[in-house]
Symmetry: C2
Subunit: 336 residues, 2 copies
């Protein structure tokens, strides 16, 4: 079962190692959304700091610790950091997957470094041209899987179609959607809208065998118009950060207004809304298309978010997302 272990980069994220260690402990506790056995977790980072941290939190329930002597900071340039820090907790976590000692790597750290390390060290799954970052957001009560959120800022039309397939596999295997509807994020509903990329991609989607529902506009994300929304990594990254910033901003605006009206209880009343729009609740993003399961959590993650990211990695592995992607691509290739 070595392949099903999960390497957690303890040093990554704004609140590391405190939040990551607490998240690891939460994942093996009865309160976990998706409970896993302690022996499944490999904690990667400064060994002394991890041992000390766990001792302060009540002891090590059975995690294996893998030492990594270096840390890539959140703001470091990914390419140069990966070169200058070969023993970083990110590189060591990915190396554990590469060596088959873990099936998944989970980090709240530098996204670019994680994507870079995973892409370079693990390589792509058979048939995959370019990996993509998928994020499942559940604003409306039904999850929408958005991809690519920034791995590939200048995709080709075929990459977009592969994102549609990978997103569909994920939505089916991990989110329980039977026939995920795939939409192409665009600036109008009709075929022929958008840039040359979109004009080229549209007929490819139609011929792909995916449950393609056509173009999706910005506002459609909130209307359950599609279960998988495909976009280039540039637009996707802008959209993701906009969603995050806007939800925070709107909540503050609303709370301020309500409190000005004397509703001091408003914060509590809106905790549910906050939870629904809070990125941290979703766990993390999945880098789909690489040989291994790679979860990139939000830098701001608290223990709950870390635990959700670990659970997401476990679910993706257990549901054999990667195997389904390879099968799906091979089937699509045979049809083409």
């Amino acid at each position: 079962m070595a392949a099903l272990r999960i390497a957690l980069d303890v040093m990554g994220g704004d609140h590391a190692p405190d939040a990551t260690l607490k998240g690891a402990l939460l994942s093996v506790s009865a309160e976990a959304k998706h409970r896993i056995e302690p022996s499944r977790l490999l904690l990667v980072g400064d060994k002394a700091a991890i041992e000390q941290g766990l001792a302060a939190l009540g002891g090590n329930p059975g995690f294996e610790i893998v030492h990594a002597s270096q840390v890539i900071a959140m703001a470091e340039s990914p390419a140069s950091a990966l070169r200058s820090k070969p023993d970083s907790s990110i590189a060591v976590s990915i190396a554990l997957v590469k060596k088959g000692l873990a099936g998944a790597a989970v980090s709240m750290g530098n996204t670019g470094a994680m994507v870079g390390a995973a892409t370079l060290m693990l390589g792509t799954l058979e048939g995959v041209k370019r990996p993509g970052i998928a994020v499942a957001v559940n604003l409306t009560g039904k999850p929408v899987t958005l991809l690519d959120m920034g791995a590939n800022t200048a995709p080709k039309a075929q990459h977009l179609v592969q994102y549609g397939l990978m997103g569909s596999v994920y939505a089916r295997a991990c989110l329980g959607l039977a026939e995920p509807r795939v939409g192409l994020l665009n600036i109008g509903e009709e075929e022929g809208k958008g840039t040359e990329l979109h004009k080229e991609a549209y007929p490819l989607f139609k011929a792909s065998g995916l449950n393609f529902v056509g173009n999706i506009e910005g506002h459609d994300i909130f209307r359950q118009s599609a279960d998988v929304v495909v976009t280039d990594g540039f637009t996707g990254n802008v959209v993701l950060k906009l969603l995050e910033g806007f939800s925070q901003f709107m909540l503050q605006l609303v709370l301020g207004e309500l409190k000005a009206h004397g509703a001091s209880w408003a914060g509590e009343a809106l905790a549910h809304v906050k939870k629904r729009v809070d990125y941290a609740e979703y766990g993390g993003a999945l880098l789909l298309g690489v040989q291994g399961t790679v979860v990139i959590g939000h830098g701001r993650s608290d223990a709950t978010a870390v635990s959700n990211a670990i659970g997401q990695g476990a679910r993706a592995m257990d549901a054999q997302v990667n195997e389904h992607i390879v099968t799906g691509l091979s089937r699509a290739g045979a049809q083409a």
Copy 2:
């Protein structure tokens, strides 16, 4: 003063001609945010319908009516509609500007048709390579001018720099910002982030003489990090529709939650928030860079939004936005 008149496309928008006529009447009433003289408005559309509509609303206060026998529907393909309907209210409105009988054209109708008619019939201002759609949103209490929102989905780097200049001119002349800070919408703060377009545009912005503050990420739009945010028309259009959809969605989510907590007064308490995030409140978008002032209001516009769009056109003309754009570009060209 013929050049300072405003042609209003009475037939454009989801609630036309009722909302447009009421908006025109509001604009000349004491309640107008930006009051204008009735003689300044040219109402363009079906003459009989306009006369009948005005009669039902208490009479014509002094508007001139210009007959247009055709209407381009919201969902029509812009290019073919412009070809097949030469006497559409949109084409006639733009033609009034072309002939110098009006300085501005305002429509809540088909955006693509309005942009197409304006670009083809009016031509660009001296020095302008490509027109861009600017929208000023005021979510945080300080307006942010976003452009391009969809006129130019595949811009070159020089187009983006011109958008920065045009947005700055608008923010200075119409929004009263002394030294508008210009940001480039991107997926990271550092120079070198983003697509080839962004990598090429960054140094051009630095050398432009604009008050360039660097790259701006999605969440920065809510942090007053820049006064003018420049992007390609594809990303801009996605962002605009996302903002609109998300604000509506969030308000519904919050209101539902508060009402479930028994706060039946919440709708009233949040009217102020609704107003702040409601696109209709901003009036409309300005097509900057064409020879004339062109305002494209939201299709859903009610009378208030129509009146705001008319006011926006009047302000842009009175503040000589186009003259400042030409001067600014000529100065930038002399420096280069």
